[in-house]
Symmetry: C2
Subunit: 604 residues, 2 copies
C-alpha cells in the first residue's frame, strides 16, 4: 500500500511562486490572512487528511454506500468529514464573514480540498456539495431561507445537494419535468424524481437540504421555464422541530468507483406532501445554477487532478522499491550475473512516470490558475482586472473540468501499468484510482458537453475576446521564457502552436459562418484536446520560467534539484504531449465529414 498521496512542496510552489497567492491577498477581502496563516491552515488540512481520510480510502471502496431501510448507509468517516471538517471550517472557509465564513481565498480553499481529494476522493464531496448548496442559498435566496438553513449546513450538521438530473433528462436540462405547484402559503408543492444525486442521503446528518430544479406549472418550455427550490428532507416546524418533508430515498446507485460516495435516486412528493421554497425569482433557476457552475467545474477538475497526483505518488513509490530486469549494455544485451535494477531506472518506466507527473502537476496548476481568477472576480476592486479574469475563466473552465478528468484518467492508466500484474490486483491501490477517476469525465457535464461549450460558446464569445486574452497571456509567458537561452526553443515552439490554433479555428469557422453548426461542432472533442495541450504547455512553460528565475537568482525556497525537475517535466510535456497537437490539427482541418448523420447507414 502506498504511504504518500501528495507532493506538498509542489503545491506550495504553485500556490506561492507560480500563481502568486500573495498578490491576491492584497485585496481587502483577505486582509485578515497572510501567507503564514494560510500555510498553517493547509498544513492542518494535511494533518487531518493523513489521520482521518487517507487511512480509510481502501476500506470505503470495500464497503460501498448502500440503500437500507429507506436511507443510505455510508462509512463512518463521512460523519468525521462533516462534523470535524465542519468544526475546522472546511465547509465555511470561503464564505463571507457575514454568512459565517472565514473569507479565505478560493485558491487556498481549492488547495485545501485538493489535499483532501488526494487523500480520499470518496469523502470531500459530502462537504463540497453541502457548500455548493449553501452558496446558492447565500447568493440567491431570501433572508428567511438563509437564516433557516445556512448555519447548520456550514457547520456540517446538515448536508446539502444539487438536484438536476432526471431519468429522462441527463445532459439535457431543458427536459426536466419535476413539477412545482404554487400554494397560498408561499411555498410550492414538489413532485418528481431526481437521479444521480451525490450525497443525497446518509445516516450521519439530521437533515439534507436539496437545491432542486423544477418547473412551475405553466412555465415556458425548455431551459427558460426552470426554477430553483430549497427542498429539505425534513422541513422546519414553527417550534423549530424537524418533520419529514416527503423526500424519499428510492435507491443508491451501485458504481464501478467512488463507492463510498453515495449517488442516490430521490423521490419528491410521493405522498403529495413535499414542500419547496422558491429561490430568487421564478424561471431563473438554471441561471442561478450556472452562476455557481464555474466553481463546481473547478471542483470536478480539482478532484481528478488530485487522484492523478495520488496515483503518481503510488506509482513512483512502487518504481523506487521494485527490482526487475537489467540495464541494456552497449552490446544490446543484458548481463544476468548482475543484480536486478529498480524499475525506475528503465527508460520506459521513467517515461510513464514523467507522463504521470507532467499531467498531474500540469492539472493542478491549471486548477489553481482558475481559482486565482475566481478570487480576482470576487475580491478585486479593479473593474478592468475583473473583466479580464472573468473572460479568462470562461474560456478556461471547460478545459479546467475536462483536462484533469481525461488526461488524468490516462495518467492513472499509465500509473497502473507501472505496477504490471500487481496494478490489476486489489492489494494495490492503483486499480482503485483507475476506477474512481473514471467518473470525472461524466460529472457536471460530460467531456462532450464541455467541448461543445468550449468551441460553441467560449471561443466565439464577445467576438473571440476570451480567446484573444488567453493568447495574450500565453504570449506574455513566451516573452519571459525567451529571455533564458535554454527555455527559448520551447517558447518558440509554443508560439508556433498558437499560430496553428488560429489556423484551426479559422478553418472550423467556415462551417459556422455557413450555418452548419452541426459540422462546426462535430469534432469539438478533438478541439478540446488540442487547446488543452496548448494551455497545459503554457502552464508548464510558466512553471519552468519561474523555476529558472529562482535558479538564476539563487532563491533557496526550494532545492536546485526541485527547480531543475520542473524544467525537465516541462521539456517532457512539450516533447510527448504538445506534439499531439500536430495530428489533432490535421484531423480538425480535414474537410471530410464522417460523423454527421446522413441517409447512409454506417452502423451495420
Amino acid at each position: 500500500m502506498a504511504s504518500t498521496y501528495i507532493d506538498m512542496e509542489t503545491l506550495k510552489f504553485l500556490l506561492h511562486k507560480v500563481h502568486d497567492l500573495e498578490s491576491v491577498l492584497k485585496n481587502d477581502r483577505f486582509e485578515d490572512h497572510d501567507k503564514e496563516s494560510l500555510d498553517m491552515f493547509l498544513d492542518s488540512v494535511k494533518e487531518f487528511s493523513d489521520r482521518e481520510l487517507f487511512p480509510y480510502f481502501k476500506e470505503m471502496d470495500e464497503t460501498p454506500a448502500h440503500h437500507k431501510d429507506g436511507t443510505v448507509i455510508v462509512h463512518k468517516q463521512v460523519d468525521v468529514m462533516m462534523k470535524k471538517g465542519g468544526e475546522m471550517g472546511l465547509i465555511a472557509a470561503p464564505f463571507d464573514y457575514e454568512a459565517g465564513g472565514l473569507q479565505i481565498p478560493f485558491m487556498v480553499h481549492t488547495a485545501a480540498t485538493y489535499i483532501q481529494d488526494a487523500a480520499n476522493n470518496h469523502l470531500p464531496g459530502y462537504a463540497g456539495l453541502t457548500q455548493g448548496a449553501a452558496e446558492l442559498i447565500v447568493h440567491f435566496a431570501n433572508k428567511e431561507l438563509n437564516d433557516a438553513y445556512v448555519p447548520n449546513m456550514l457547520s456540517g450538521q446538515w448536508g446539502g445537494t444539487m438536484c438536476l438530473t432526471e431519468p429522462q433528462a441527463g445532459s439535457s436540462l431543458s427536459d426536466i419535468v419535476t413539477k412545482a405547484t404554487p400554494t397560498d402559503d408561499g411555498h410550492y408543492k414538489l413532485n418528481g424524481q431526481k437521479i444521480f444525486i451525490s450525497g443525497g442521503d446518509y445516516q450521519y446528518v439530521e437533515n439534507v437540504v436539496h437545491l432542486v430544479l423544477a418547473r412551475i406549472e405553466g412555465a415556458p418550455a425548455g431551459t427558460k421555464g426552470i426554477s430553483l427550490f430549497v427542498v429539505p428532507k425534513h422541513r422546519i416546524k414553527e417550534n423549530g422541530d424537524l418533520e419529514f418533508n416527503d423526500v424519499t430515498t428510492v435507491a443508491d446507485f451501485q458504481k464501478m468507483g467512488q463507492k463510498g460516495y453515495c449517488t442516490t435516486h430521490l423521490g419528491f412528493g410521493d405522498a403529495d406532501d413535499c414542500k419547496g421554497w422558491l429561490v430568487g425569482e421564478a424561471n431563473q433557476g438554471l441561471k442561478y445554477m450556472f452562476m455557481m457552475m464555474n466553481g463546481a467545474r473547478i471542483g470536478v477538475g480539482r478532484g481528478a487532478a488530485a487522484i492523478a497526483m495520488a496515483a503518481y505518488q503510488a506509482s513512483l513509490q512502487y518504481a523506487n522499491e521494485r527490482p526487475q530486469g537489467r540495464k541494456l549494455q552497449s552490446s544490446g544485451k543484458k548481463n544476468p550475473e548482475e543484480g536486478q535494477s529498480l524499475i525506475i531506472e528503465h527508460p520506459d518506466v521513467r517515461r510513464m512516470l514523467l507522463l504521470q507527473k507532467s499531467i498531474a502537476e500540469g492539472s493542478i496548476s491549471l486548477i489553481l490558475l482558475a481559482s486565482r481568477y475566481q478570487d480576482i472576480l470576487e475580491s478585486s476592486k479593479d473593474e478592468e482586472e475583473k473583466k479580464k479574469a472573468k473572460l479568462l475563466l470562461e474560456i478556461l473552465i471547460p478545459m479546467v473540468k475536462t483536462f484533469p478528468s481525461e488526461a488524468g484518467a490516462q495518467s492513472v492508466n499509465t500509473g497502473l501499468q507501472v505496477l504490471g500484474g500487481y496494478g490489476f490486483c486489489e492489494d494495490f491501490i492503483l486499480q482503485q484510482y483507475y476506477r474512481d477517476i473514471r467518473i470525472f469525465s461524466i460529472y457536471e457535464g460530460t467531456t462532450g458537453i464541455q467541448s461543445q461549450d468550449l468551441l460553441g460558446r467560449k471561443v466565439p464569445m464577445e467576438n473571440g475576446k476570451a480567446l484573444q486574452l488567453l493568447s495574450s497571456e500565453i504570449m506574455e509567458t513566451i516573452g519571459k521564457a525567451s529571455n533564458h537561452n535554454d527555455l527559448a526553443p520551447y517558447a518558440k515552439k509554443l508560439g508556433g502552436k498558437l499560430k496553428l490554433a488560429q489556423e484551426v479555428i479559422g478553418s472550423l469557422m467556415q462551417y459556422a459562418q455557413k450555418g452548419n453548426y452541426e459540422r462546426y461542432l462535430a469534432d469539438a472533442n478533438l478541439f478540446m484536446e488540442f487547446l488543452s495541450h496548448i494551455t497545459i504547455s503554457w502552464l508548464w512553460l510558466d512553471m519552468a520560467t519561474h523555476a529558472k528565475v529562482s535558479l538564476v537568482s539563487g532563491d533557496k525556497t526550494h532545492s536546485e534539484e526541485f527547480y531543475e525537475s520542473k524544467i525537465h517535466a516541462m521539456k517532457f510535456y512539450f516533447k510527448y504531449e504538445l506534439t499531439k497537437t500536430t495530428s489533432l490539427a490535421e484531423t480538425l482541418m480535414d474537410s471530410e465529414t464522417l460523423t454527421v448523420k446522413t441517409d447512409q447507414e454506417v452502423f451495420i
Copy 2:
C-alpha cells in the same frame, strides 16, 4: 443489459472474403473441412455461447473466484466450459488427429474462441490454457507424458496451466529461482513459488497439469538455464489412481476485473514431495515456451479484440434506444418544443461509436491475419510461402498482442462514455468490460515488453527482412485500392505513411549503430503505437477494397449498406487515427533525450 455481444456477419466477412479461409483449406491438413462445415461449427459455438456463456457474464463478476479450504472456488459455468466445451471439441479442435484433435484451421479456432471471449471473457481461458499446456506436451514431451496427460486435458476432464512468473521475477524470466533436483527415478523434485497462474486451481477438475519453468541445480544463470517440467497437482500412481503431488494453492489474487477467471499463487514442494517430469531437453525450457508464445499472444489480442467488440455492441444498442438532447438548427440553437433525438443522431456520439467500431473490427482483422499466417506455417508445403508467413507473423505478433489491448481499452473507455452516468453504474455492462479489458496490456508480456520486442528484435531481424515483407504486403494493398477512384486518396495517404516509417526507423537506428541501445529503445512504446496505426490502416484499406470489389461486381453475400459501412469505417480510421502517426513521428524523431537515467534527479 445489452442483448448482443458480437457481429457475426463481420466475422464471416473477414474470415471468408478478406482473409480468404478457403485458400488455406486447400492444404492437405484441412482436407476434411470445407466452408460450410466450418461455418456450421462457428454457428454451434455461437449457440453454445448464447446459452452457456453470455448469460453468466455479469454473475461471474459479482461472485469472484476465491480461495477456500486449500482450493479455488469458481463459478459453476467453469464446469460447463470445460466439460461441454471439451465434448464439443473446443479444446481439441486445432490439434492433429493423432493427438486426438480435429485439425481445424487455426483461423477457425481463433474465430470460435473470439465468439466465446466476446460472450464471456472469464471462461474461455480455462480451456485455452489447458490447450496451451497440452500443446507444449504434444510438441516437446515424450510419448509417456503424452499418453498420461493429453487425452484428459483435451476432453476437459483435467485442466492445464503455464507457470512462468515468480514473486521476484515478473517480466524478467531470467530471474526464475524455482528449483528442480534430479532423482534416480527419472523425475525431478520441484521447489518454488509461482504467482499469477491463470486457471491454477478450481473445484471442477480432477487434476491440473502445470507446465512449470524451473532451474535444474547447477544450470547456467539467466535464460539459458531454464528447463520445462510437467508438474501435475495429482500424480498418477502405477495403478492409474491419482495421488497428491504437493502442489498447494496458497492464494487466489483478487483483481479489478476478470474476477471469474482465477489467478492463483501456487507452492511447489512445500512438503518436499513434489515430482516433476522434464519436457524435452534440459535448459531448453524457455525456447519451448517461446515456440508456443506466438499462439498465446494471438490469444491475448483475440480476447481484447472480443471485449472491444462486445462493448461496441452494448454501446451501439444503448445509443439506438436512448433519447437525449436535440439536433442543432441552422440558427445554432435547439428547439425545445421538438421531441428529443436518439443519441445516435449526435455527431459526437457517432464519432465515439465509429471509434469503437473501427478499433474493434480492425483488431479482429489483425488477429485473423496472424492466425492465417499461423495456418500457413503449420499446413503449407511451399517453403517459400512458409518462410514469408513466419517473418510476417514475427513482425506482427507484438502488435497483435498490443493493439487490441491498448486501443481496445481506449475504445471500451469511449464506449462507457456513450452511456454517460449510466456507463459508470453496475446496472450497465460497460463498466465491466472497462475493468476486464485492462489486464490485456499486462498479460503475456506487457506493452513495454512487446514494444521492446518489436523495435529491438523484430524490426532489425534478418536485416530488416520482416519489415520489408510487411511493407510489400501493404504496397500490394495500396496498389489494389488505387484502382478505385474513391479509395485512391486513402491508398496514397497510406503510402506516405510507409515512407514516414522508413524515416522514423532511419532516425532511431542512429542510436543503435552507436551502441546506445537504451536510447534506441527508450521510445519503443511510441513506435509500437506508430506502426500499429499504419498496420491497422492497411487492414482497413484491405477491408474497404474487398467491400468495393464486392459492390462493383454485384456480390450479394452481404448488403450494399454493409459494404458501404466498411468503406466508411476505413475513412474514419484514416481521418481520426492514422493521422496520429504525424505527431508520433515528430516525437520519435526528436533528438532530445529525457527518459534515460542520468545523474539529474527528475522525480522530486
